[in-house]
Symmetry: C2
Subunit: 121 residues, 2 copies
């Protein structure tokens, strides 16, 4: 039994809401997620896992406490586990995330910005 092909751009086009990660694919116990973002998220930390950001389109700033990391299309950046960060996008930006299953978008700072992982149509 094999899974289906997913297209990253088609998947992103199908997402209506901002800051809502959707599952594109799974590799063992990891999820590859897509999301549309714009504006500033919240400061948070994932104490137990690294988090990979890949920009598909737009511009993502990963704010860290000591610097800002700015990513354009096809740029990849990994926030190491335990490093506090705050994603920000001044224009609509489309991203891919890679992290272990069960990783919550708001990490150690749950609240109104917490979003369960959604399934694509």
């Amino acid at each position: 039994m094999t899974s289906d092909v997913r297209n990253i751009l088609t998947a992103l086009d199908s997402i209506g809401e901002l800051w809502q990660p959707h599952r594109l694919a799974s590799v063992n116990d990891y999820d590859v997620k897509v999301a549309r973002i714009e504006g500033e998220f919240i400061w948070h930390t994932h104490p137990d896992t690294d988090e990979l950001f890949l920009v598909v389109s737009g511009e993502l700033t990963v704010r860290l406490r000591d610097r800002d990391v700015v990513l354009g299309p096809n740029d990849v950046f990994v926030v190491p586990r335990g490093v506090e960060h705050c994603p920000r996008a001044t224009v609509e930006t489309r991203i891919v995330l890679i992290e272990p299953k069960g990783t919550v978008n708001t990490g150690d700072a749950p609240g109104e910005r917490t979003s369960p992982l959604r399934e694509l149509d």
Copy 2:
């Protein structure tokens, strides 16, 4: 201590040899790899892990014993663990792979096509 930004296209441009996976980033105990491929690889299986293929440019056919899965740019496909497959590209194709650290490109069929994971410059 945080890692650096990597650009997928720049990384692929820097690779000289075909069928040589290079490490783009790591997320915990997983590697995200880039490779340039053209021609047909060998039939093999990864008994213990899924393997994700993402096409950046070109066209990748993942041959399975019961069908061919054809991927274009931005398409993603996961070969489940234990499923025999043979990648093929009739034009030069640039891909991203996601799999656990230590996964060997030829899986259960080691030989002259086996390539250690390389580091980017």
